[in-house]
Structure formats: structure tokens, C-alpha cells
């Protein structure tokens, strides 16, 4: 990724983040949908949730560096998991799998958008 001009570096980084977000989100939705064994399902769902909506969204809407997007994004995704789940418990409607699926769909949308935008940069 190094050795090129900053703009092409940034484009490449955006493409990598976008594709990773899409792949992880699709993988997460698939393993949940197929009720895969937890040894396969949990690592994919956990990785997709940590990478989640915030990292591609940060890359999409801000000019922060790659490592900053990763760090702030992981922090925000963890906060999001905590707050969404707390909201579910307080509201008395405990649908954890559906909530994670919704987060993964948002992540998929953000990743797809980032991939498209980076292709036209």
C-alpha cells in the first residue's frame, strides 16, 4: 500500500475496508442463517460485529487515517453492541440475533457504498 501517491493509497485502503466489511457482514449473515456450529459461527459474527458499521462509515464520511478509522471504529462498534443490547433488555424485547443481523446489514450497506465510492475516486 505504500510507495504510491496519497490519494491512490487512500483509494486502495477504502476498497480494502469496503470489501472486508461486505465479506464479513455477508459471512456473518450466512452463518447465522445456516445455524452453523458455534466454532465457525461465533468467530465470524464477532469479527463482523467488531468491524461492523462504524469502520466503513468513518472511512466514508471522514478523512481520518486508516489506523484512526480502525481504532475509533472498533471502539464505536463495541459501544454500539453494549448500548443496543442494553436498550433491548430495558425495553423487554430480547431479540439478540435479529439485532445483530440488522447491524450486519447496516455494515453491509456501508461497506458496499464505500467500495462503490472508492471505485470512482
Amino acid at each position: 500500500m505504500h510507495g504510491q501517491d496519497p490519494e491512490s493509497n487512500r483509494r486502495l485502503e477504502c476498497q480494502v475496508i469496503g470489501v472486508a466489511a461486505v465479506l464479513l457482514a455477508v459471512g456473518g449473515i450466512l452463518v447465522i442463517g445456516l445455524s452453523a456450529p458455534w466454532q465457525i459461527r461465533f468467530p465470524i459474527v464477532a469479527a463482523a460485529s467488531l468491524f461492523g458499521p462504524a469502520i466503513p462509515a468513518l472511512r466514508l464520511f471522514t478523512r481520518r487515517t486508516l489506523i484512526e478509522c480502525l481504532v475509533y471504529g472498533v471502539g464505536m462498534n463495541i459501544a454500539l453492541l453494549m448500548l443496543v443490547s442494553l436498550g433491548l433488555v430495558m425495553a423487554g424485547s430480547w431479540y439478540p440475533t435479529i439485532s445483530i443481523m440488522v447491524l450486519l446489514l447496516i455494515s453491509l450497506a456501508a461497506g458496499a457504498r464505500l467500495t462503490m465510492v472508492s471505485a470512482t475516486m
Partner: protein, 641 residues
């Protein structure tokens, strides 16, 4: 040298071939360290863990692997090029070897509290409800609900499977935000790399197990990164912000432009970016406030200190942070404070009492335990002394020393607020670390050339054994033997719902299942009459309930009493009393756990003890940890159920 290069080009070799080979050496050393370290850990035996903890079970190859890894790091760090991939690999290996050591050696995931947290998370997974009246921690439940949601969606049978490698995973997650934070403060990537390398060696506090504070600390690091990164400022200290409003608009704009000009390019934001980053800050603040009791107050003091000293533009954020944290205490944690008002607020202003609870009362126990505590204090003093030296020596480095000082000292203010069960001192050190290590890195890098490498090597050589003693020194009673888990499973299987469980101290792996089914009673050795008083009658009184009660004595409880309280013969004395009492019947035993059932009556009602036919008792026998095939002992005919 020019001749060599010319020849190399002529014969078709890459011109920098010698440099490439030299660049491979740290990679090779890192791989050797990883291989040797893993082999050593896999060959270590749990039974060798002694009064000095895990260090007694570690083979020589393990220490050699850490020395090789340190040499590889120094080669990478002293290189004039920055090699991130090499450095990242070395740090990952360091964290795996240091913080993953018990995971390789011990038969069950360590630390009893982690098992309790797993039980609570499992309860939420299954029911979608929390238990605010069961434990104070459960009034700040967002960590547990988040883990439960992820575990349920990921199809986990229970979260106990996460406990073993949780500390490794969390310590790895701490490092990227720490790197960014150190880069913001020190404005030098090499120095930031040094901070990241030292952190796993200095973090002996052990708050990285499966717990709310482990994740809250990660959120705190990200929070401070944002405060000192995109929202950094370079103002004069104590500049009253409200006075700015009195200035004429053109003067205000001029001042803002001047401040903007002093900031690096990467710290200037657009309006949309500011809104997104503020939303992230709010999310982090809310998650900290609902997830852990004291982390939001550490964040509050840090951001308030930075705002007062002109290091951040977020002058109003301390108020937001305080309101969010206190708002949750008032609203979400009502079940806790309504019954424990004095416990929550009684420590405010009582600095002497809180310091005593955190320091003086923890300094006791067996001679080995004293030495481990001395090592911990030594590490604390060493890092603070290096930080102090760095503050004075790093004057001309251009580092943001004021921010580092705030981060290092602001956590100390919490000692004036709450004793936090005697654990606030540990948290203070943990939260001091990022700022203190940045200043320490300044001290270590003021010397030039080879002296710098020698200084860093000496510090690492000192920190490795100190870390192993300070971090894993309590392993004798912080580990969870497999026999204790099987014993507790047997207890949960035999005890009717509503029955009471009593343990003589908190070192018991309970609550990992059926958390809402039983009432748990824990005694503190220093406040109960277990040692000198009428033990049997006291325990009987506390276990006397409609569904009966059970007393649990484990090998780690005995070790805890011996190492932490210096009660050498306590186990024998206490257990002899229960074995002789007609009020209690031994219903389960294996070499690591004995369970007595309270069968009622009075101490002199029956002529003989129901335990006379049962064999040996539990006295923390060395080498007994692997034999955990326990057996339930059926009640004698005629004895009360």
C-alpha cells in the same frame, strides 16, 4: 562499500542484499521466540505453581524466549527505518507469551470473578433480563448485555469458552489506541512504539479478565485518543472559555484561527467530521457510564484536566461525561444505591481511609505474598520515577508533556472519592499507565545511540521477572482447579432451588450457572469469626433457611487464607470443627473441594458426627490438582434432608 555495491549490481544481485538479510534477523528471532515460548508453556505443569505463583512453573526456555524476543524488538526499534509489520508481530508474540501463559498451563480458565461474570452473561443470554439486586456490578449491565447478545447470535453454548483467551484478546486490543495516543502526545513514532512495547510488561494489574472493566478500559483509551487527537487544542492553561464570548467577533475569529494554525494538519476537522466524532464520543461515554462504575469518572477527570490545561477543545465535555455517568447512577443503578448509600458516597473526601483500604490493608499475608506486593509497589514506583524523570528531561522534545501529566495524575483524584472495595489503588495504577509510560519513554530516549538501546534493554530485563511475579504471583489462589469446577457442578445438581451457599472467602468458582436459583453468602476472613469465634454456630445460623444450605471449602480458599491473610493452620482447625459437628454432613468431596450440607438441629442434639465415616479433609496438598474425580456422598439413612 561502494565497490561491494557496484559488484553486486554487476552480478545481478539486489544492491541492498546485505541489508535485506540483516532485516530478516529480527523476523527469525521473533519466530524462534514464539516457537520456544509456546513449547516451554506447553511443557509446564500446573502442579508446579507455588507461593510465588506461575513463575515457579515456567521452564527456563520460557525466559530464554522472552530474552530473544526483547533482542528482536531492540533491533527493530533501533533501526533507522520504521518497520511496522515486524514490530506488530513482536508485540503480538509478547502479549501471547506474557498474558496467555496461564491459558496454556492451567486446566480451567483462571479467576473466580470471571466465572461469575460468565454466569451472569449466560443468564441474560437465556432470559433477556438482568439481576440488579443480586450484585452491585449488575447495576451497570451494558457489558454483560453486549456480551450476551454477541454470544447468543454467535451460537455459543455459554461464555465460559471465552474466558481463557479473553485477557490476550483484550491486551491486543489495547495496543492500537495506545499507539495513537502515544503518537499524539510524543509526536514521534519510535517513542510511541516504545510505549506500546512496555505497556504489556507494566500492566500487572490484572483487570483484563472477562469483566466490564476490561472493555471499559479499552473504551477509555479510545476516548482519550479522540480527546487528544481530533479534538486536541494548544491553548494557554486556565484560559477561561466564557471570557472568550465577551470578545468582539473579529477578535474571537482571529484567536480561533491562531489556535487552528498551531494544530497539525491531521487534527483539523470539517463540520460533518466533528459531528461524527462527537457522536462517537457520546457513544463511548454512554457505554462506559452504563458498563462500569468507576471508569466514567476516570474519563471525566482526564478530560476535565485536559480542558483546564488547554489541551482539548472539548471544554464542555467534562460536564456531559459527569451528567451521563451520574445520570446512570441515579436512574439505572437505583437498585444498588438505594440500599448502599453510605457505601457509595461514604468514602468521598475520606482520602486517608481510602488510601488505607487500598494500600495498608492489602499489605499482609505470608512472606511470599509480602514479597509479591513489594514487587508490585516497586513497579509502581519505578514507572512513576521514570515518568518524573521524563517530564524534566523531555523539555525540548516538543512532546505534549502537559497532556501526559494530566493522564498520569488525574486518576489519583479518584482515591479521594471511593475505596471501591480496596481495589481503587489497582485501577489508579492502570489508568495512570498511558500518561506515565509516555513520560517514561521521554526519559529513556533522551540518551542517544547505543546508550539508548542499553537503557531500554535494562528496563525490559528488569520488567520481565517483575511482571511475572507481580501479575501471576497470586496464581495459587487465583487459578481455578478443574476439581473445584466439577465439585461446584455437583453442588448445583444436588442443591434445591432457594438453598443457600456459603463460602469462607470469595475465591470460589460459583455463579457460573443457575445464578438466580441460590442465595450466596461470602465471608470476609478479617471481619468474621471463622478463625477465633464459634465458627460452626455462626455458619449454621447463616445457612438456616427453608431450603437448607451448603458450605463450600475449596483448595483455593485455603490457599487464599494462607497466602493473603497468613492463616497457616486455619484450614485444619475450621474443617475439623465442621467434620466433628452434628449440624453438618459432608455431601461431596474431591481433592480440591469439600461440600458440607447443613442438616439442622443443635450442636449437642446428636451424639456423633455424621462425617465420622467419611475420610480425609482438604489442606491444599501439593500435586493434588489433577485428581479431581469427585464423588457425592449420600446422606445416611435417617439424617435430615
Amino acid at each position: 562499500m561502494a565497490l561491494v555495491t557496484a559488484r553486486a549490481s554487476r552480478y545481478g544481485h539486489p544492491v541492498d542484499a546485505p541489508r535485506s538479510v540483516r532485516g530478516l534477523v529480527p523476523w527469525i528471532l521473533t519466530l524462534v521466540a514464539l516457537g520456544l515460548g509456546l513449547l516451554s508453556l506447553l511443557s509446564a505443569h500446573e502442579s508446579a505453581i507455588g507461593p510465588y505463583g506461575l513463575i515457579q512453573a515456567l521452564p527456563l526456555g520460557y525466559f530464554a524466549s522472552l530474552v530473544i524476543l526483547a533482542a528482536a524488538f531492540i533491533m527493530t526499534w533501533m533501526n533507522h527505518e520504521i518497520r511496522y509489520s515486524q514490530f506488530a508481530a513482536q508485540v503480538v508474540v509478547l502479549v501471547v507469551l506474557l498474558h496467555g501463559a496461564p491459558g496454556f498451563i492451567e486446566s480451567e480458565p483462571r479467576f473466580h470473578e470471571a466465572w461469575t461474570h460468565a454466569g451472569f452473561t449466560g443468564y441474560i443470554m437465556q432470559t433477556g433480563h438482568v439481576l440488579p439486586h443480586t450484585d452491585a456490578r449488575f447495576n451497570w449491565p451494558s457489558f454483560f448485555t453486549g456480551a450476551a447478545m454477541l454470544a447468543r447470535a454467535g451460537g455459543l453454548p455459554n461464555v465460559i469458552v471465552l474466558l481463557r483467551w479473553w485477557p490476550v484478546f483484550l491486551n491486543l486490543l489495547y495496543l492500537p489506541p495506545l499507539f495513537i495516543l502515544a503518537k499524539h502526545i510524543l509526536r514521534d513514532e519510535k517513542k510511541a512504539m516504545l510505549v506500546v512495547w512496555i505497556f504489556p510488561l507494566a500492566n500487572w494489574v490484572g483487570q483484563d479478565y472477562f469483566s466490564p472493566q476490561s472493555v471499559a478500559y479499552l473504551l477509555y483509551l479510545v476516548f482519550v485518543c479522540l480527546v487528544l487527537g481530533p479534538f486536541a487544542a494548544n491553548r494557554e492553561a486556565f484560559f477561561p472559555q466564557w471570557l472568550r464570548a465577551l470578545l468582539p467577533p473579529w477578535k474571537r475569529r482571529q484567536q480561533q484561527q491562531e489556535e487552528l494554525d498551531t494544530l497539525p494538519e491531521d487534527q483539523r476537522n470539517t463540520r460533518l467530521e466533528v459531528m461524527i466524532l462527537l457522536a462517537i464520543l457520546l457513544g463511548l461515554s454512554l457505554a462506559m457510564a452504563t458498563g462500569h462504575q468507576i471508569t466514567p469518572y476516570f474519563a471525566f477527570t482526564a478530560v476535565a484536566g485536559l480542558a483546564i490545561l488547554g489541551r482539548t477543545k472539548l471544554v464542555a465535555w467534562p460536564a456531559v461525561m459527569f451528567l451521563v455517568a451520574t445520570g446512570w447512577v441515579c436512574y439505572g443503578a437505583q437498585a444498588f444505591w438505594s440500599g448502599h448509600f453510605n457505601q457509595l458516597f461514604g468514602g468521598i473526601g475520606n482520602l486517608g481511609g481510602n488510601v488505607s483500604a487500598n494500600l495498608a490493608k492489602r499489605l499482609r499475608g505470608s512472606p511470599a505474598h509480602y514479597q509479591i506486593l513489594d514487587v508490585r509497589l516497586f513497579m509502581f514506583v519505578l514507572i512513576l520515577a521514570l515518568a518524573l524523570a521524563g517530564f524534566f528531561l523531555g523539555r525540548k522534545t516538543g512532546a505534549n508533556r502537559r497532556a501526559a501529566v494530566v493522564l498520569a495524575l488525574a486518576p489519583l483524584l479518584s482515591l479521594g472519592g471511593q475505596a471501591y472495595g480496596g481495589e481503587a489503588g489497582l485501577r489508579v495504577f492502570l489508568f495512570c499507565l498511558p500518561g506515565a509510560l509516555c513520560l517514561a519513554a521521554l526519559a529513556l530516549t533522551t540518551v542517544a545511540g547505543r546508550l539508548r538501546a542499553i537503557a531500554v534493554a535494562l528496563l525490559i530485563a528488569l520488567l520481565i521477572p517483575c511482571f511475572l511475579l507481580a501479575r501471576w504471583g497470586n496464581e495459587l489462589f487465583e487459578m481455578v482447579p478443574a476439581g473445584e469446577v466439577s465439585g461446584m457442578r455437583a453442588l448445583y445438581a444436588m442443591a434445591p432451588p432457594g438453598s443457600r451457599f456459603l463460602a469462607i472467602n470469595p475465591q470460589v468458582p460459583w455463579q457460573f450457572m443457575d445464578i438466580d436459583q441460590h442465595k450466596l453468602i461470602t465471608s470476609k476472613l478479617d471481619s468474621s469469626s471463622f478463625v477465633f469465634g464459634n465458627t460452626v454456630a455462626n455458619v449454621a445460623a447463616r445457612l438456616n433457611g427453608p431450603q437448607g444450605g451448603y458450605l463450600v471449602i475449596t483448595e483455593t480458599e485455603v490457599a487464599y487464607a494462607r497466602e493473603s491473610y497468613g492463616l497457616g493452620n486455619w484450614a485444619q482447625t475450621v474443617e475439623r470443627r465442621f467434620a466433628a459437628s452434628p449440624l453438618f454432613q459432608r455431601v461431596y468431596q474431591n481433592p480440591t473441594i469439600v461440600i458440607y450440607k447443613y442438616i439442622g438441629g443443635t450442636e449437642h442434639a446428636q451424639p456423633g458426627s455424621p462425617n465420622q465415616h467419611v475420610g480425609r479433609s482438604i489442606h491444599a496438598r501439593p500435586g493434588s490438582r489433577k485428581q479431581h474425580g469427585g464423588r457425592p456422598i449420600h446422606a445416611r439413612p435417617g439424617s435430615r434432608k
